[in-house]
């Protein structure tokens, strides 16, 4: 009860409210601009929130996370371009609806679906975060934690890249970067090149701003073209009627369940949930033929599913210390700088944080829904803002955000170098997500492996044969094998299909 009061009290601080308003504006803006992902915005905001109190900083970052989930539907529906990857499935039916003159309706349904998805996922977070952390705290020793970290890493690597090997190499690069600094157990310096600043490790915020902010911006500069697509301007009716509300029930229930489940898988995000949720809702729909052609049920399903991942993602991040998605990976980095280490120990030492986080997410959802319903017409106008303002603003804020972390120009140079490396990696097909995950989880994996080996007297066999460790490492192997088998099957199927086409006379 006391923790509940402490948690609620921390939310009543005017600075927290102000932080949420700031996060709301930023989140809706980044969501509405295609090409700026929530990860990029949270990475950028992380630079400015380091000086804030943890709850204030969480208020900014979590509200961006929530609000971007609302804003990103606008370009998905009006321009057929997802604002963030989470709204990929929204384009399937949202854009056809807009072309039919029902954009207003699609935007409203999308906002309602997103809000209900997040509300449901918050119930999951509030109910399961502490029990999960408690179980993990009781059952997980260093060996199990090591296995869990390996599992989290493999899941993200396997889903985030076209090529599994490129994803793994990106993860390995992150792990290698994670070794820079002083090895805590023996105080030996590693790869510091004699630079004093590197003794405490590299600047995490500078690297993520470079990898997610600058690299994305540079890629947009490299590929910019003149022909811009005009957003659909005929918005039509906004509010759904009674029968339309009724139609939303079934897809919402099915895809909501999908989203909640996917959210709990470490590193699986809203993009995947949206696609699976859309497909499952189609399978149970009375009008599956309308899916992909402007189905109201399709919009409801994709947005409820992708938004319902937020709570699950938050649960694995906070209770287990394994990021639920890229945004959460960046958020863990910021939290560590504030002195909060997500993981099984967090909620046993700070149960009030569950209340604060749930409260922030709840208020952020209500505010985002309110703004989405009231001010959607204004947000639509954002799509007309020319790119040159956007690019110049992102660049200067990346620079100032990085500088703010250390007040040192050298950090800005490090960020720019990370940006150049990031754009090269992006152009060559290496995803940034696994790099950040490797940077975060590498030191944790090394620490836990070190502790586990010490306990086991250096016997690695004893570690991997522990039941829970074996299970988690087995799951890690499965998470790597499944995409490989799936890709091989898809390739052989497409080969068979093309062979059939050749055999069949015209």
């Amino acid at each position: 009860m006391n923790d509940l009061l402490i948690g609620i009290e921390s939310l009543l601080d005017p600075a927290v409210m102000l932080s949420m308003l700031l996060g709301l504006v930023l989140g809706l803006l980044v969501g509405a601009f295609p090409g700026i992902t929530a990860t990029m915005a949270v990475a950028l905001a992380a630079g400015f929130t380091l000086t804030l109190e943890p709850v204030q900083g969480l208020a900014v970052l979590l509200t961006i996370y929530v609000a971007a989930n609302f804003g990103d539907r606008v370009p998905a529906i009006l321009v057929n371009t997802p604002g963030t990857p989470a709204s990929i499935a929204t384009t399937f039916d949202g854009y056809p609806m807009a072309k039919q003159g029902r954009a207003g309706l699609a935007l409203t349904i999308s906002a309602i679906g997103s809000a209900i998805g997040i509300f449901a996922s918050l119930v999951l977070f509030a109910a399961f975060a502490i029990p999960l952390a408690t179980i993990a705290n009781r059952l997980f020793g260093p060996a199990e934690m090591f296995a869990l970290v390996v599992f989290g890493l493999t899941v993200m690597v396997s889903i985030s890249s076209h090529s599994l090997l490129k994803g793994l190499l990106a993860g390995a690069l992150g792990l290698i970067i994670g070794t820079i600094g002083t090895y805590a157990i023996t105080n030996d310096e590693r790869f510091t090149l004699g630079i004093t600043d590197l003794r405490d490790g590299y600047n995490f915020i500078a690297l993520i701003i470079g990898l997610f902010g600058i690299a994305e911006l540079f890629d947009q500069l490299l590929t910019a073209r003149k022909n811009r697509i005009k957003p659909i301007s005929r918005l039509g009716r906004w509010w759904p009627n009674k029968s339309e509300f009724k139609q939303m029930g079934r897809p919402m229930a099915v895809s909501g369940a999908v989203g909640l489940g996917v959210g709990l898988v470490p590193a699986a995000g809203g993009d995947i949930a949206g696609l699976i949720g859309w497909d499952r809702a189609k399978a149970v729909s009375k009008n599956p033929e309308q899916f992909g052609k402007g189905s109201l049920e399709g919009v409801t399903a994709s947005d409820t599913a992708s938004s319902a991942t937020l709570g699950g993602s938050l649960t694995t991040t906070m209770a287990l210390g394994v990021p639920g998605d890229s945004v959460m990976a960046v958020m863990i980095g910021s939290m560590m700088i504030w002195g909060i280490s997500p993981g099984p120990g967090l909620f046993t030492s700070r149960p009030d944080l569950v209340v604060s986080i749930t409260g922030i997410m709840l208020i952020a959802t209500v505010l985002s829904l309110g703004v989405s319903l009231l001010r959607m017409r204004g947000m639509v106008k954002l799509l007309d803002v020319p790119n040159h303002y956007l690019w110049a603003t992102i660049l200067i804020f990346c620079i100032i955000g990085t500088y703010a972390t250390t007040n040192n120009i050298a950090t800005v140079i490090m960020m720019l170098v990370a940006g150049v490396v990031g754009v090269v990696l992006k152009r060559t097909g290496f995803p940034a997500g696994p790099i950040v995950l490797g940077m975060l989880l590498g030191p944790l994996a090394e620490k836990e492996l070190g502790r586990a080996l010490l306990i086991a007297g250096g016997d690695f066999g004893e570690i991997v044969t522990r039941p829970l460790t074996a299970l988690l490492l087995g799951l890690a192997l499965v998470s790597l094998a499944v995409p490989l088998i799936r890709r091989m099957r898809t390739k052989s199927k497409s080969r068979k299909d093309s062979a059939t086409k050749v055999d069949t006379p015209a």
């Binding site: 321009v79 057929n80 371009t81 997802p82 990857p85 990929i88 499935a89 384009t91 399937f92 396997s158 889903i159 090997l165 490129k166 793994l168 190499l169 390995a172 690069l173 792990l175 070794t179 090895y183 157990i185 023996t186 105080n187 030996d188 310096e189 590693r190 790869f191 540079f218 890629d219 500069l221 490299l222 590929t223 910019a224 073209r225 022909n227 697509i229 995947i272 696609l275 992909g292 020319p386 790119n387 040159h388 303002y389 660049l395 200067i396 703010a404 140079i413 720019l416 152009r427 097909g429 090394e446 070190g450 080996l453 010490l454 007297g457 250096g458 799936r486 890709r487 099957r489 898809t490």
Partner: protein
């Protein structure tokens, strides 16, 4: 393909990628609009081979660097020393990059449908933006400087002096041709950053 889909190779590809990754069995039923060939980056075997070779060389170098880590003291029995983890990672990296090299040499190059094609003007624009940023950082790192004019000494905060010029140059480079808009944007943004971050948040700009 409808005119609205034109030029959305990146988005279309994102749809394809994620559907493959997320739900293979369902992939057939998920609409994945075809990418517009004109704006999609072409697969490149040469690039893939080069990158795989660079990765292999880098991981081999990292392996030797890991062996060269100076140890202050021997690890206790069962304890891992500072070389252990980097060595494991280096070996993992060598194995992965060797596998990648074999794959790229024996198979066709990966599809790049999730990337748009690089524009010639884009490369020049990016290089100029990088040079402008380096010059800006160099001027800013002076922190403050003074100007002797007509017998008077004018002191400037380097950030306040350099930022409007930098922003104006960026805006022009990125395509804005309205001088009024450029000047207003540059001054208002600089003032906003200086007041909010320099004065309110006390960041030493």
């Amino acid at each position: 393909m409808s005119p609205h889909n034109k030029g959305h190779g990146r988005k279309a590809a994102a749809v394809e990628d994620s559907s493959t990754a997320a739900a293979s069995s369902e992939a057939d039923s998920i609409p994945a609009p075809a990418a517009d060939d004109e704006y999609v980056a072409r697969p490149s075997k040469r690039m893939e081979v080069t990158i795989a070779l660079v990765a292999l060389v880098a991981t081999v170098l990292f392996f030797f660097a890991a062996q060269g880590i100076e140890l202050r003291r021997e690890a206790a029995p069962g304890q891992i020393d500072a070389r252990f983890w980097p060595t494991i990672l280096a070996l993992l990296g060598i194995a992965l990059s060797t596998s990648r090299l074999i794959v790229v040499l024996t198979r066709p190059a990966d599809s790049r449908v999730d990337l748009e094609v690089v524009q010639r003007r884009g490369v020049a624009g990016l290089l100029i933006a990088i040079v402008l940023t380096i010059v800006y950082i160099a001027v800013w790192s002076a922190k403050s400087f003074s100007l002797h004019l007509f017998g008077y000494v004018f002191g400037f905060n380097a950030f306040v002096f350099a930022t409007p010029f930098y922003l104006a140059a960026l805006l022009y480079l990125f395509g804005s041709r309205s001088w009024k808009a450029i000047i207003i944007y540059a001054i208002v943004t600089t003032a906003f950053i200086y007041l909010v971050f320099g004065q309110l948040l006390r960041i030493a700009l």
